[in-house]
């Protein structure tokens, strides 16, 4: 009998006498049927179309199913769909749903539910908007069949329906899917492998998912969002822990089973623990970035932007983010996720080799930079942006620039970066961010690579060449064509410096050794994950 047992016994006896309440007895088996997971962030809302944060997408993948799912080879595979047909001209797609699909309220999944869900999704998704722009009609043919008729072919249709980038095209009951896409749903009924226990949801602290016993998994082996989503536990509890040190301690103490993204500083401690496994969580990783405002001097001149690219050392940025663990980063001479089928870093020479500070200074002077303040927004509450911001401030000073370092929080950066006013009047010159590698494989969901001026992401780059090559990728019909198109996009975006990539980095995930079946991927997949007592 250890000290803790004695304390429990004493206090328990006293407590029972005082309250008359009995403590619950949690059987070993029950504990083994509950997987306790620490997510990357707080699940503050639960509408995967209205709110497109990754954490919402990750939770939604448990509750809502998709027509297609992307697998680990990045190919779309049938999920809720049994079969599809397309006409020779590529303008009409006809889809048939699998039989026996049910929502969590017991109602069957019908084609009309799919039509309403796709309409809501398409209004918020970049690829969905492209489809809407060429859509003739989207209709339910019968209970299991629906048809999408387009005015011109859209070769990436299945990818759009399968992609894991938020927002995913999750299928909801028609009554819920008819909600305005800019307003939040209030019912969380899906047809996915787990049900959302709304009554146990404490936003900011806990979210609970229960196994949906009527779920009919596909027969194929699970692979990312595709295949048979077999749930091996009864409950999955998401426990939000804002403090990484607390999460690390809880994992070591066996109070949680799986921590999605331990910070690099704490990984050595976890690796030493014989009860804990640590591995790369998402092989697609992340791309660090900072964006320059193309509307105002000095970065409205491409020479000033190129000067910064010439001088920046990706190693400095990556070491600031991940520390000395060389397994966690690599240089990235471009904008696309490395080690993927269509990766191409054509034109990335400016980011390779020894950094030439003198040449960069010369180019900066040619751009007409004359010492005006460069307003650099740095969110201090995000370790990645803070680390990058410190490196950038040093880089700009080395280039002889006058840095106006605005240390603030992410909420303020998020708001201020939308301002198109001059930097001295509430605007900005630079801000830092990072992009999930899963979003940067192709231009499909890669908002940050777009360079269509006013309609582009913050910084509003205007590069007709980049846009032309992006269109070329959408029209590509084979992997080789796609790869060539990606190379051309990369070259054009580097030439015009759409933004500054600061390198490619990975993060770890950690779990207790009594948990098995955790797959590497762009989001935590709970199917196939089991836990022993």
């Amino acid at each position: 009998m250890d000290r803790r047992t004695v304390l429990k016994g004493l206090a328990g006896a006293g407590g029972l006498a005082l309250t008359g309440l009995s403590a619950p007895a949690i059987a070993q088996g029950a504990s083994a049927r509950t997987l306790r997971f620490v997510p990357q962030a707080n699940l503050a809302n639960f509408d995967p179309i209205w709110g497109t944060q990754y954490v919402v997408r990750n939770a939604a993948a448990l509750v809502w199913d998709t027509l297609y799912g992307i697998d680990s080879s990045l190919q779309p595979q049938r999920q809720m769909v049994e079969s599809e047909e397309t006409t020779d001209d590529g303008k009409t797609w006809t889809f048939k749903l699998r039989s026996g699909l049910k929502f969590h309220d017991g109602e069957p999944v019908l084609a009309k539910d799919v039509v309403a869900s796709l309409s809501r999704w398409a209004a918020r998704d970049p690829m969905g908007l492209m489809i809407i722009a060429i859509q003739q009609e989207l209709t339910a043919v019968d209970d299991r069949t629906f048809k999408w008729v387009l005015k011109q072919p859209f070769p990436k249709m299945l990818y759009a329906l399968a992609k894991n980038n938020a927002p995913c095209s999750f299928i909801m009951p028609e009554r819920i899917a008819k909600t305005d896409p800019f307003k939040q749903i209030t019912e969380y009924v899906g047809s996915g492998p787990m049900k959302f226990a709304k009554g146990e949801w404490v936003p900011g602290a806990k979210a609970v998912f229960e196994k949906f016993t009527d779920y009919v998994p596909r027969q194929e082996k699970a692979s990312w969002l595709a295949g048979g989503k077999q749930i091996m536990v009864d409950r999955v509890e998401w426990i939000v822990m804002p403090d990484p040190a607390t999460a690390a301690a809880a994992l070591q103490n066996g109070e949680v089973d799986w921590w999605e993204n331990p910070i690099a500083d704490l990984v050595p401690v976890l690796k030493k623990n014989k009860n804990i496994s640590v591995d790369i969580g998402d092989p697609l990783g992340n791309i660090g970035s900072f964006r320059m405002n193309h509307l105002f001097a000095p970065f409205n001149d491409v020479r000033a932007r190129r000067a910064v690219l010439m001088a920046l050392s990706q190693e400095d940025y990556m070491r600031a983010i991940v520390g000395d663990d060389d397994a966690l980063w690599k240089p990235l001479p471009g904008f696309f996720t490395p080690d993927t089928p269509v990766y191409n870093d054509l034109g990335g020479d400016i980011l390779k080799g020894k950094r030439d500070l003198d040449a960069a200074k010369k180019l900066l002077a040619e751009s007409g930079y004359s010492g005006q303040p460069v307003t650099c927004l740095v969110a201090q509450d995000q370790p990645i942006t803070k680390a990058q911001g410190d490196v950038t401030a040093d880089l700009l000073k080395k280039l002889g620039m006058n840095v106006d370092f605005v240390a603030t929080d992410w909420g303020t950066v998020g708001s201020r970066r939308a301002a198109k006013t001059p930097p001295g009047q509430g605007g900005w010159n630079m801000f830092h961010s990072w992009h999930a590698g899963a979003d940067c494989i192709t231009p499909a969901a890669y908002t940050a690579i777009r360079a269509n001026g006013d309609k582009a992401w913050f910084g509003w780059p205007n590069s007709p060449n980049t846009e032309k090559e992006i269109t070329g990728w959408f029209e590509a019909k084979s992997v080789d064509e796609e790869k060539a198109a990606i190379g051309r996009v990369n070259k054009a975006a580097i030439e015009d410096v759409v933004y500054a990539p600061t390198g490619f980095f990975l993060t770890y995930t950690a779990w207790r050794k009594n948990v098995s079946g955790i797959a590497k991927g762009p989001l935590p997949f709970f199917w196939g994950v089991s836990k022993s007592a």
Binding site: D2, L21, Q53, G204, W457
Partner: protein, 313 residues
């Protein structure tokens, strides 16, 4: 007394109104935009603007303020921008953990700090006094999160006596409830214990020099009786005052403590709401905290009359 209490409660209304106006104005002019957070990092400016419109955040200040006040007057704190849940329900979810933490901390403080202060005054100038006051300085100097991490490391990770994090409601049993609160209460209570111990010592030192104490000693009264019955009661007014003021310390400290120990209380709700710019939640919590603070001050005034019959309102 009853009319005094009623007068004081009525007097809280203008205070609350000023707090409401202040908080609303502050949030309105503060940088940040909840629509940006909701829309996500990849959203277009047009999407952000449409979300802002759907939330009514594009309306003029006075319209937003007027509609908020109207709802407050009807007992409606509004709905969270993010969770779509009523603010009152969210506060209700979080009240239990915070209240539990504060009660345990308060009890721990009184049980530890008051006797320490009394003993320090009794043994003024001795080694015991210096040790106690040294501890008080130490407790005052250490940030809550440092104490929290140290306690978690020693008592949870090394000794495995207590859990690192979380909260279990009292309805699940007394020990599970208390087990989760011991470390946070000690971490949060350190500063508070130091403060109360020092004030108790100072107040007791003054009282112990009074003539009636000498008389009590001369009459042969025991040391315990002198210290805890005669002296402590007369030193109680400043001690009660500082315990009351310390409630504000507890509210502030709870924000950090709840984060370190992952307790789903109001402190964490406050931080989350501020970082996301969830205005209705921030406003609701600040109003609640203001009300609690005003109420605590009222309670202190009432307690004065109990510990010192000379005080009349």
């Amino acid at each position: 007394m009853l009319s005094y209490i009623l007068r004081r409660i009525v007097a809280t209304l203008p205070v609350m109104a000023i707090v409401a106006l202040f908080v609303f104005s502050l949030l309105y002019i503060a940088p940040g935009d909840p629509a940006v957070v909701i829309a996500g990092d990849q959203a277009s400016p047009e999407d952000v603007e449409r979300i802002r419109q759907s939330l009514g955040l594009d309306r003029p200040f006075l319209v937003q303020f007027g509609s908020w006040v109207w709802r407050i007057l009807h007992g409606d704190l509004g709905t969270s921008i993010f969770t779509n849940l009523p603010v009152s329900a969210m506060i209700g979810q979080r009240l239990g953990p915070t209240l539990s933490l504060m009660i345990v901390t308060l009890l721990l403080t009184i049980v530890v700090a008051v006797p320490l202060g009394v003993v320090a005054a009794w043994k003024a100038g001795s080694l015991i006094d210096r040790v106690i006051m040294g501890f008080a300085v130490f407790g005052f100097s250490l940030p809550v999160f440092v104490v929290g991490y140290m306690l978690a490391y020693v008592f949870a990770l090394e000794l495995e006596w207590l859990p690192v994090q979380g909260y279990t409601p009292l309805s699940s049993g007394f020990w599970p409830w208390l087990e989760n609160l011991i470390l946070p209460a000690i971490a949060l209570g350190c500063v508070y214990i130091a403060l109360v111990a020092r004030i108790t010592r100072a107040a007791m030192l003054e009282v112990l020099q009074q003539d009636y104490i000498r008389t009590a000693k001369a009459k042969g009264l025991g040391q315990g009786g002198i210290l805890f019955i005669h002296a402590l009661k007369n030193a109680a007014v400043p001690i009660v005052t500082v315990i009351g003021i310390g409630i504000a310390l507890l509210i502030g400290g709870a924000v950090v403590t709840e984060s370190v120990f992952a307790i789903p209380g109001l402190g964490r709700l406050t931080i989350d709401a501020i970082l996301r710019r969830d205005y209705p939640v921030i406003q609701g919590i600040v109003l609640l905290f203001s009300f609690v603070y005003v109420l605590v001050n009222l309670m202190i005034d009432v307690i004065y009359t109990l510990v010192d019959p000379r005080i009349r309102y």
